[in-house]
């Protein structure tokens, strides 16, 4: 199944009842799949007039307490920032998927990971965070998509899954959980959703607090949720991490798969390298990464991203100067080949000249 379709079907299996979208490459197949599939399960499919509208349709739909989601790509996600901030402020569960493409601006439509900051640090205004998940295979996209709905409900916070065109366009075998009856949220059981003030006081979904003390309380309440996420939701994967590793690669999403290929190749050449793959980008597995990075055998930590360096900052915050950190990145739709990552690794491992510090980030390609 194509990644985009798998994501769509995963949402259906997770009990999603509403999908709102605006066309944008490279994820339009999600909509094209759901325009047929949603009606089959009695759900709502609606193409909105813009991503600004779609973000806010999601806001309205999420207020029903049912499971709802949208998918888009980089510029479209930028247009949703206000609504995302509102949904976070109003404690609404909703799932958003960003199939990232090259930016900034109109950029291109090929795979990139340059919306990391936007997703992880908060592209909208105010003290809020999204829970951010990054799958590296189509199967994982399915699993994380389903998890996203659970986490959105658990925290009543928007959850964003970020992938790139590769995840969206790639076809891999996927398994869905048994197709018994799809379980759905029952709005009548909700103690917060808007479903008619019958025999109870009205419920107000809002983020305005004119009293700054209340507004501050709301922000700290959000912060409590984020602290809870840090305790309970950190996810990551280790690949061939062991005491022989000379170098630890940190990479996420499809980029991490490419690094796996590199690691396999290097292994066959007798060079041991491990991979730390964050699955939750927020909360970031800081302690866990530090634990692996500080191990004696590791000389260097190499961050590999399809961007000019964004996750790098979280790697720095995790490792806190305890190890030399290097960066390798390609961006704008260029997917680094295993070969170039490999030669970067070899360059770092072979103790030729003095290696540079992370201050000078190393790029895949020089300009001019």
């Amino acid at each position: 199944m194509k990644g985009n379709e798998a994501i769509a079907e995963a949402a259906i299996r997770a009990g999603a009842e509403g999908y709102f979208c605006y066309p944008i490459t490279p994820q339009s197949e999600v909509a094209e799949y759901l325009t047929k599939r949603m009606p089959e399960v009695g759900g709502v499919f609606l193409q909105g007039e813009s991503e600004v509208a779609v973000g806010n349709m999601l806001f309205g739909a999420a207020s029903t307490g049912k499971r709802v989601f949208t998918t888009s790509s980089s510029p479209g996600i930028s247009l949703m920032q206000e609504s995302i901030s509102y949904m976070a402020g109003a404690h609404l569960p909703a799932v958003l998927v960003n199939i990232m493409r090259g930016g900034p601006g109109l950029g291109g439509i090929l795979p990139a990971q340059s919306d990391y900051f936007q997703a992880v640090k908060g592209g909208g205004h105010g003290d809020y965070r999204l829970l951010v998940l990054a799958p590296s295979t189509v199967q994982e996209a399915v699993d994380l998509m389903m998890l996203s709905f659970d986490l959105a409900d658990k925290y009543r916070n928007p959850v964003m899954m970020i992938g790139d065109g590769m995840i969206g366009q790639m076809m891999e075998a996927v398994e869905f959980p048994e197709e018994k009856e799809i379980k759905r949220n029952n709005p009548d059981e909700s103690d917060w959703a808007v479903n008619g003030a019958k025999d109870r006081k009205p419920r107000i979904i809002k983020s305005l607090f004119l009293d700054p003390h209340q507004l501050e309380d709301n922000s700290w309440l959000l912060d409590d949720k984020y602290e809870q996420m840090k305790r309970e939701e950190v996810r990551y994967e280790l690949y061939k991490v062991n005491a022989k590793n000379k170098l630890l690669i940190v990479s996420y999403g499809t980029m991490a798969r490419i690094c796996q290929t590199v690691i396999d190749e290097l292994e066959s050449e007798g060079i041991s390298v491990g991979l730390f793959r964050p699955i939750t980008l927020y909360p970031y597995p800081m302690k866990e990464l530090k634990k692996e990075a500080v191990k004696k055998n590791i000389k260097t930590v190499l961050t590999v991203e399809m961007s000019t360096a964004q996750m790098l900052e979280d790697v720095e915050r995790s490792i806190l100067g305890k190890k030399q950190i290097e960066f390798f990145g390609r961006t704008g739709g260029i997917v680094p080949t295993p070969d170039e990552v490999k030669s970067k690794v070899l360059e770092l491992i072979k103790p030729k000249k003095k290696a540079k510090t992370s201050e000078k980030k190393k790029r895949g390609k020089n300009v001019k």
């Binding site: 309205g60 008619g196 019958k198 809002k206």
Partner: protein, 254 residues
């Protein structure tokens, strides 16, 4: 009063007994009452959800006694769409100012109306940005002085006021569109009927409905409440024609 007296006019049930934050004489209050009465009369208060705008009426949920969502500025129709599509059994309305609906929210209102979303919009046109301190709105009258048109709205520079009822009526999708005003008791009674009808059509699942209500903003217009009603009658009513522009009873389909 004696015990066999009966109250023939009182606060509707769907309204909280709260003093509003509106300025003295601001007709937002009247329009709130009309909405509450429609909910009462149709018996839908307990399955109603309002969408509050950003504007002076952002706190409408403190006054009308039903569930509410608070939208980003201008996006109430998108929230209403998302909600109503998921819960067609509920009664959904947006309450929006002219800055909210006719300026930043132009895209959302036109498209919601065009898709024929089955919700109701109460559009309060007071020809100004009330909440932010009296800036020019797209609905501000020619020559009207505001904080961002200190010499009066210059139509050669920024065009003529936008007439939303006319624009939404230019759409082919059936809908109910009427413009009313609330500056005299007579007009208020007509407004009441229009608002009632707008909700009724929704409850019947007929169409999108929008009532544009000409309203006063004594504070930012710089008039007393009385002067403001007169200014509305003299300036706004001639430009913003009061009538039913579109009614599914009369024009069904394309």
């Amino acid at each position: 009063m004696s015990s066999n007296s009966n109250v023939i006019f009182s606060r509707p049930e769907a309204m909280h007994d709260t003093v509003t934050h509106y300025c003295p004489g601001c007709t937002h209050g009247i329009i709130h009452r009309l909405v509450a009465e429609a909910l009462d009369e149709l018996g839908v208060r307990d399955k109603a959800v309002g969408v509050a705008p950003v504007g002076c009426s952002v706190l409408i949920y403190n006054y009308i006694n039903c569930d509410f969502m608070e939208a980003p500025h201008g996006r109430a129709p998108a929230l209403a769409t998302g909600f109503k599509r998921m819960r067609p059994d509920m009664t959904v309305f947006t309450y929006q100012g002219d800055g909210d609906l006719a300026s930043i929210g132009m895209g959302e209102i036109v498209h919601a109306a065009n898709r024929g979303e089955k919700f109701t919009t109460i559009f309060v046109n007071n020809a100004i940005y009330g909440m932010t301190g009296g800036q020019m709105a797209p609905t501000t009258m020619p020559q009207q002085i505001t904080t961002t048109s200190p010499k009066g709205r210059d139509v050669s520079q920024v065009g003529y006021p936008i007439r939303m009822a006319e624009i939404l009526s230019a759409l082919v999708t059936p809908s109910y569109i009427e413009r009313v005003a609330v500056h005299t008791p007579q007009h208020i009674l007509k407004a009441k009927k229009a608002i009632y009808k707008a909700f009724k059509y929704q409850v019947e699942g007929r169409c999108y409905s929008m009532v544009e209500v000409l309203s006063t903003c004594p504070t930012n217009w710089g008039y007393t409440p009385q002067e403001a009603t007169k200014w509305l009658a003299d300036n706004m009513v001639p430009y913003y024609e009061l009538k039913c522009f579109k009614d599914p009873e009369k024009t069904e389909g394309f």
